[in-house]
């Protein structure tokens, strides 16, 4: 019924057109989200206050937003590097959980000398995160097993492992709650003294810069784009297709694991059942909105950090569920996806 007017794929949509569609989609998504929030009981006048003033324009709010953005940058980058080679990493939360578990093991066990404790947590967390995506990667390369389902299933399994540990050997002996004991000082990122912000921001900044260099200025980035655009052509041209996919997907797992370590070593200082929740959607939304570009990941993650900050405020003052954060993300994502139609296709009359 909709093919009565013929759709034609635009050969090369102009920057202005794609920009306008993107902005239009973003605007509609945010407007619908605002409408839903007002319906849920947030006064319309409070929206600007909570989402802009209290997140960027006050000192407390800004430090809160920056702190919330740190793991979002890492998971956004994790999703972005996998997207570059057309690998759907839907198991980001699982890799994040296991990275956090590895770091917790180091922190609680007091493994290694104290000055090396935090670096060891970071390295081990990244390695374990990469290991958790190695199986779906191998299955995909070897037998073409759909990675959407396999990474997701491993994500669920990882969370059950966390629960097994939290309700078992790691249960806090002091309170009997399913959380670990607090980490000793040597296993935490040092606080900057500005709100909750910790020196993990240096690590996140360095990682982003490194990835920006890797993807935009080295051969690896070129290979990745070739593989992502047309894998058959890349293979025919003799590019190292398997190695590129393997490298970037393992990197994706490692970044997710690193995000897990950043959360527990930076803000939580203990492992609990809630530290990793909601990062899957955030990762995908950040990477998609940032068009899988590291620098834009930084920008989008900051904006999303503000949504997280505002979400916490709304939860306390208007008793809005934190589901709000996921709802806003989903609404904006589908709105931009739909708006893209207008830049990808043109209408032409049937001849």
């Amino acid at each position: 019924m909709f093919d009565a007017a013929f759709l034609v794929r635009r050969q090369a949509p102009g920057l202005l057109l794609s920009g306008a569609c993107y902005a239009g989609g973003l605007f509609v998504g945010l407007a619908v989200s605002a409408f839903l929030l007002v319906q849920a009981g947030v006064p319309a006048g409070a929206l600007v206050d909570e989402f802009l003033v209290a997140t960027f324009l006050t000192s407390d709010g800004l430090s809160q937003t920056l702190t919330a953005a740190l793991p979002l940058v890492l998971v956004g980058l994790a999703s972005a590097v996998a997207m570059r080679v057309r690998f759907w990493n839907i198991g980001i939360e699982g890799q994040l959980w296991l990275g956090a578990v590895a770091a917790t093991w180091v922190a609680l066990g007091g493994i290694g000398p104290e000055p090396l404790r935090l670096p060891l947590m970071l390295v081990l967390g990244a390695v374990v995160g990469a290991a958790w995506i190695a199986l779906p990667l191998w299955l995909k390369l070897k037998w073409g097993v759909n990675e959407v389902i396999s990474t997701l299933l491993l994500g669920s399994i990882a969370f059950l492992l966390v629960q097994h540990l939290l309700f078992g050997v790691w249960r806090d002996p002091a309170t009997n709650f399913p959380v670990t004991a607090a980490f000793p000082e040597a296993s935490r990122f040092a606080a900057t003294g500005w709100g909750q912000l910790h020196y993990g921001f240096l690590l996140v900044g360095a990682v982003t810069a490194a990835l920006w260099y890797l993807l935009d200025y080295t051969r690896v980035g070129f290979y990745a784009d070739a593989v992502g655009h047309n894998i058959k052509t890349a293979r025919a041209a003799g590019l190292p297709v398997g190695a590129t996919i393997t490298g970037l997907v393992l990197l994706s797992g490692a970044l997710s694991g690193l995000a897990g370590v950043t959360i527990i070593a930076g803000t939580e200082h203990r492992l609990s059942q809630v530290v990793g929740n909601g990062y899957l959607f955030s990762a995908i939304v950040v990477a998609y909105l940032a068009r899988a570009k590291p620098v834009w990941v930084l920008v989008v993650a900051l904006a999303l950090g503000a949504v997280f900050t505002a979400g916490n405020v709304l939860k306390v003052f208007y008793s809005i569920s934190e589901g709000m954060i996921v709802l806003v993300q989903g609404t904006v994502l589908i709105s931009i996806l739909m708006a893209q139609f207008f830049s990808t296709y043109a209408l032409s009359r049937p001849s």
């Binding site: 389902i149 399994i157 309700f167 959607f281 809005i320 993300q329 996806l337």
Partner: protein
């Protein structure tokens, strides 16, 4: 023996939501649309069903209401994927986010309130619970009992009727179906709506028939298991029935073991259905071309493209 009877008695109630959802997904994917939104659609169905009963509605009306609400969300998905030709994977994930987020925000006042559910066969027909047969049958409800019929009807429709074959043609080769005069968009939209109805029903069944309560996150990855189940079933409704019973049995094991007070690693045992699914996924990938996957699954059809 007691353990076995108890286990057998609850397997159908665990299998039913999985089966309902996977039947919906089979219809949708047979038409070529990859629907990863099942988890979100089920959440909306579960919440809507609970709200209707808590507001004094009939449990049967609640099942219907859950189906309608999820169909509305599925319509948004159809609009994005079929009309606007957006990426199926990303659109599906967005639907999951919207479904889970919306139920979190809107369902807040209804959390943890118990309500009466659907009457079981035992209540309806006064089945004697003294015998082994009675103990197993009395706890079943009309939905569960009717399901094999639904499965057969769907199989018959897909394999033996003109409209069913048309649906399959659209998913296998939309260009050929288009030339044959089949309306691709209309067929796909109808299939997406059907998946919304059945996933909504599956969700509403969870809250209204099984749990008699609604809590956030109660779908607990069953939507994802249903997606894997479709692969296991090779897009065939009859096999989906078998798969749902198998997965339901694995799912029902933990609460049964807990009920008899067995000492076992609960969370590690709960990984069983996921590991099973992963194994099945690998096996069906090894099968390659005979996996039954619709030829055009998850791809965007444009009349002007060369396919």
């Amino acid at each position: 023996m007691d353990f076995l009877i108890g286990w057998l008695a609850i397997i159908p109630s665990y299998a039913t939501p999985l089966l309902l959802a996977s039947l919906g997904l089979i219809i949708c994917e047979r038409a070529g649309v990859l629907n990863l939104g099942a988890e979100g659609l089920m959440a909306v169905g579960a919440m809507t069903g609970a709200i209707i009963v808590l507001s004094g509605g009939n449990p049967w009306a609640a099942l219907g209401g859950g189906a309608v609400a999820a169909a509305a969300l599925a319509l948004l998905f159809g609009l994005a994927t079929v009309v606007k030709r957006a990426d199926h994977t990303l659109s599906g994930l967005a639907i999951v986010a919207i479904g889970l987020g919306m139920t979190g925000v809107l369902g807040r006042p209804y959390v943890q309130k118990t309500f009466p559910g659907i009457e079981t066969l035992g209540d309806l027909f006064g089945i004697d619970r003294g015998t082994v047969f009675g103990r197993i049958v009395a706890v079943q409800d009309p939905v569960t009992i009717a399901l094999p019929l639904v499965v057969f009807a769907l199989w018959w429709w897909l394999q033996k009727t003109r409209s069913g074959l048309r649906l399959t043609a659209v998913g296998e080769n939309p260009a050929a179906a288009d030339v044959a005069g089949i309306d691709i968009q209309l067929t796909q939209l109808a299939a997406v709506l059907a998946s919304g109805v059945l996933c909504g029903l599956a969700g509403a069944y969870l809250s209204v028939a099984t749990s008699h309560v609604w809590v956030e996150g109660m779908v607990a990855a069953r939507g994802w298991v249903a997606i894997a189940l479709v692969i296991f079933a090779r897009w065939n409704p009859a096999r989906a029935l078998l798969g749902a019973l198998l997965f339901g049995a694995a799912d029902a094991l933990v609460p049964r073991l807990q009920a008899i007070g067995a000492d076992f690693p609960v969370y590690l045992t709960m990984t069983a259905p996921y590991i099973l699914t992963l194994g099945v996924l690998v096996l069906s990938s090894l099968r390659g071309k005979t996996s039954g996957e619709p030829g055009f699954l998850g791809r965007v059809y444009l009349r002007q493209d060369k396919h």
